[in-house]
Symmetry: C2
Subunit: 275 residues, 2 copies
Amino acid sequence: MPYYAFLNGKMLPSEKAFVHISDLGLLRGYAVFDYLRTYNRKPFLLQQHLARFEHSARELNLELPCSGKQIEGIISRLLSKSAIRTDCGIRLLLTGGRSADGITISRPTFAITTEKLIFPPESAYRKGVKLITREFQRESPYIKTTNYKNAIRLNPEKLRQKAHEILYCSGGKILETTRNNFFVFKGDTLITPGANILHGITRSFVLSFAKGVFRVEERDVLVSELPGVSEAFITGTTRKILPVVKVNDQAIGEGKPGKNSLHLLKLFEEKLAER
Amino acid sequence: MPYYAFLNGKMLPSEKAFVHISDLGLLRGYAVFDYLRTYNRKPFLLQQHLARFEHSARELNLELPCSGKQIEGIISRLLSKSAIRTDCGIRLLLTGGRSADGITISRPTFAITTEKLIFPPESAYRKGVKLITREFQRESPYIKTTNYKNAIRLNPEKLRQKAHEILYCSGGKILETTRNNFFVFKGDTLITPGANILHGITRSFVLSFAKGVFRVEERDVLVSELPGVSEAFITGTTRKILPVVKVNDQAIGEGKPGKNSLHLLKLFEEKLAER
């Protein structure tokens, strides 16, 4: 069975979901989105994703044509219509819609798509991954816009260097990867940047239960601190908690997934099992 | 007769030009474009626009599926097919295309659309226009990407303040407006920023004939210089040379279109008549 999509009020197979070429989302990059996944075919952290999506929409003066309750209903219908046997990704997309003058918002285009989940290989969790750094500060870090130009542009370089992700840094501070948040451990203290980044939903989820186990600091993390950290990991919807063992040529801690990171991953899995 | 578009090898009425929702141009803002116009139904400065478009494509690792010569041919067919009696705008658009993983470029989407031209009101040339400044440096100023998020987001504020355009400034330097280049006159010296801006095709065209008449300086222009300039104007495909008489609350020169700016506009019109 194919994946289904909801587009401007209609339910249709994703293959048939097309947007007019004059849409501001395409012509002007004027769009916000959010992305979540299901576990056991139920949307995970849906309310949190909806809240962030609504925030992004407000920041771009885009009116959502559906309430949160209605979106929940649409997602539920999409999941049963798609008859997907496995878990899937769910993307919410809201654009400026078609515009007569290329600058004025009219009726936003609103879509919800269900998508195949793409995971890191299992070995990434066993061995940990490498990141490479690039100097970059996203334009509007607190808004989840569709601007991933830099991520796609740097992708070939990332593959060349056998890195799992690009770690954006700015003025000596570590920010986030192109699609994930970044954490380090110094001993039993968990530290993660809090400013000038997109606040990931997985990031918040991890912080919520990490606080009961470790000392937690949300503060700037300097690139120059990396030689002194004992562990590092990234968080994201399809990553959960993924250990980082190298940043550029700098080994992190002992160069293998750290015990605190793995403990948090275990707690993550337990939280999922409790649902 | 409707406007026509060329999309991935097909000629079709613009109303029927749709792009799949998984296109990286829409999902990730991964796209470059260029925009030109016709005069007397002939594309104006086409070679220059093509050269810039090809540069933008290269910078984003996007392969153009057509040669410049082929694009010329397509535009010519579009113009005759559209049977447009008046002049029109021509937009070239190249995106990352559909992507299986949302990050890897596959086969780019390439479109050429013909569009209704939208001009400033005639009174804007007679009275001059007001700009308002905003602190903003575009991410990749030398590449004509589709990222106009800031322009659209600030549009309501621009209208509220009865401004014609937003003038981006960064660290005390004047850069460009959301869609135009900025020039000032100090007496008979024409000055325009040259760094960290998109190099407009109209800007180059104006510079090419201004150099024979005025002393020309391409250099940083400071916001603090504005009280001392005698004239200002902006350039762009649909603006030609549009006098600026106010920036925020600062009157420019005598607060009316300047004689040197109007002289350049006259030369512009003469160049057009010569074609």
